[in-house]
Amino acid sequence: MAEPNILGGLIGGAIIGLAAVLLLALNGRIAGVSGILGGLINSTARGERFWRLAFIFGLIAGAGLYGFARGGLPLELQAGHLTLLVAGFLVGAGTRLGSGCTSGHGVCGLARRSPRSLVATMIFMVIAALTVFLTRHVF
């Protein structure tokens, strides 16, 4: 693995924080990606769908722009297709059941001083680290 990306990490993190601040200040919404995506599945109000879709298209467009400007995205998949399928299912089910992911609980929930988000963030970080330990050092 490459050296830690200290500057990129801090600046990129601040950019993510800025995105969360803008969405809350302007639209009054939490920038939690799993929640924004999940709201597409069972939101009854049609007006609810458009901003969610716009955010997701923005995510893809932003990454596409970066890749275009830099001649490719930094992307090294860490699992085969079968594992990616299982992992994707677990990420979808878990974030739905647990009401959030790294952005909603981690970046936004902690800033709202939500005890639920603090507990969720600690649990998924520890479990993810444990999963990596078991799959890469034990089995």
């Binding site: 995205l73 994707g88 009401s99 959030g100």
Partner: protein
């Protein structure tokens, strides 16, 4: 209409943050989670950078009576540390550790057109949909 434009712009900014910090790359995420290997602290710095912005500014925004473009704030209402929260976080943690993808980076990485990313996102939607079925009933 303005809110839709804001959401699109925020999505772009969010993805640029994920790309600049390399959190779009599962190798970086696994490097952070792999505490028994050559530990990569980059994800911690990303969280620190993001929280350095959101922690001081969120309370200032939420002191206002309403957001600039909407009638009211739409915030989570649950406060209980209930079993779904705990079990959901555990399930999400296993999936995150297996692939190194959480929802934001996975959706942004769709821009690469990688078949593995597309599979992950489809499975993620199925997982969300399945749990939402149980919520409805």
């Amino acid at each position: 209409m303005a809110q839709i434009a804001v959401a699109f712009a925020v999505g772009i900014i969010f993805a640029l943050g994920l790309a600049v910090s390399e959190m779009i790359n599962p190798a970086r995420v696994i490097g952070f989670l792999n505490v028994a290997g050559r530990w990569d602290p980059t994800l911690l710095l990303v969280m620190a950078g993001a929280l350095a912005v959101t922690v001081p500014i969120f309370p200032v925004i939420l002191r206002r009576s309403r957001p600039l473009l909407a009638a009211q704030f739409s915030l989570p209402i649950k406060t209980q540390l209930d079993p779904p929260l705990i079990i959901g976080a555990v399930i999400f943690g296993v999936g995150w550790g297996l692939a190194g993808f959480c929802p934001g980076p996975a959706l942004a990485a769709l821009a690469s057109g990688s078949p593995g990313v597309i599979l992950f996102v489809i499975a993620m939607l199925v997982g969300q949909w399945l749990v939402s079925r149980f919520e409805d009933s």
